[in-house]
Symmetry: C2
Subunit: 237 residues, 2 copies
DNA sequence: CCAAAAGTGTTCAACATACACCCATGA
DNA sequence: TCATGGGTGTATGTTGAACACTTTTGG
């Protein structure tokens, strides 16, 4: 190792690096956000995003998955890097860079698996409490990004159970965009992507007639993901 | 300050945090990338992205602007956070997180202002040299992002001089997408946005007839930026 | 039998694409 | 005068938006 390079590195200030996770869920009616009380905040009763420190041997992806797992015990979750927040004053305790990730999980999967180490709660997007530090901005950016992505790709599937009905999917999109959609145009557009496989089974209990279940054609879904679909379905004002 | 919180923070490992900038430029014909030899790399002759360390009192935005200014002496540049790279092995000297920013500048503005402290050179996107560390992946991600954005917004303006012609703009889009576009459809689509203001002046020298200069309607441009435009013009295969 | 949700088709307007000719001018 | 690039219009197909009625079945 050349000495001048080493000196170059050693003369620099080092910082704490953390992960914060914006965890979206859908319960069939509303888009929700999972928040925790971590017990490490100065203001003891503030809700915050789930987060944690990046460890010396971890990549950012590994760290974000680990932290999500610690809370939910879920693996293989849709998780995507959103933005890194680094204002010198964002954390009053000590300067910390936070790499924000956003996650999509369906509330059903999560229900029983919740870790008891955290006080966690789902909040409706309409009724979010005041959040710790700059977590509010993180959430704002995440919802904007979610809308952007969902308008281009059928990303919303990640928030639903494996088997879902078209009306469920429509409710999800309505929740994401905060708008009403026309069911005729919506289902036509969805089905025209050929990404859905109709099952024989019908949903019981919710409506009298019952709606057919569908599942995603995983192979096509992943293939199509990088072609822009301009996916936002027709809306009725 | 509560003692247990302080201890929580102090027990964590700290890391170096750097910025790397993917700087795109356009010379009227080709999309180019600005690379430097920083003289701090282990392999002394490797080209790399322009970069630098984040200082204790700087936000990420401030740091990225400063670093870009150090090289180009330009201010008010389009600069956007792309992604944070943090694999434990990405920098063999010491673990460093790098927040990648991408910048769009027009080569004309830049020409005379270049700092003499760096050995810098524009490279055609087709003929990039091997880059330091994971800078190659950063560039790949940036070009993908640039295409994505440019297909949705008329972001390409940032790469052109203040006064530009429609054929220039078309060449830029052709360079970004690596494809040929139909000039009739292209100009119709562009003009239909009403974001361009036609000037009286014509471009001299390049063609015999001369093409009219246009400038952007800044106010409308910024307003429209958040409405998805689905901007990719028609292509002729 | 009726209330509640599922499911489906048509028409019209807007937009994307493909395509070809005239214009202005410097050499 | 002619070669070069600038500038425009039209016809066609595709896609999105608006809109209403029939079907199923549990209670």
């Amino acid at each position: 190792m050349r000495l001048d390079i080493l000196q170059q590195y050693q003369s620099q200030t080092k910082f704490l690096v953390a992960i914060d996770s914006i965890i979206f869920g859908f319960d069939g009616e509303e888009l929700k956000l999972l928040l925790v009380k971590r017990g490490i905040e100065e203001e003891f009763h503030t809700w915050s995003l789930m987060g944690g420190w990046v460890q010396p041997d971890e990549s950012l992806e590994t760290a974000s998955s680990r932290i999500l797992f610690e809370l939910t015990n879920l693996t293989d979750i849709y998780l995507e890097q959103l933005h890194t927040f680094g204002n010198p004053q964002r954390d009053p305790v000590e300067r910390t860079f936070s790499v924000a990730y956003f996650a999509l999980i369906n509330v059903e999967d999560y229900e029983n698996k919740l870790s008891r180490n955290y006080e966690a709660q789902w909040f409706s997007m309409q009724e979010l409490p005041k959040l710790l530090f700059d977590h509010g901005s993180m959430v704002d950016m995440a919802i904007e990004n979610l809308r952007y992505k969902a308008s281009q790709h059928p990303i919303g599937f990640e928030l639903l159970p494996e088997k879902f009905t078209i009306p469920q999917l429509q409710k999800l999109y309505e929740a994401i965009f905060g708008t009403e959609l026309d069911k005729r145009n919506f289902s036509r557009k969805l089905l025209s992507t050929n990404l859905l496989i109709k099952l024989d089974e019908k949903q019981k209990g919710y409506s009298k007639k019952g709606a057919f279940f569908y599942k995603i054609d995983e192979v096509k879904y992943k293939k199509h993901f990088n072609n822009f679909l301009n996916f936002l379905p027709g809306s009725t004002p």
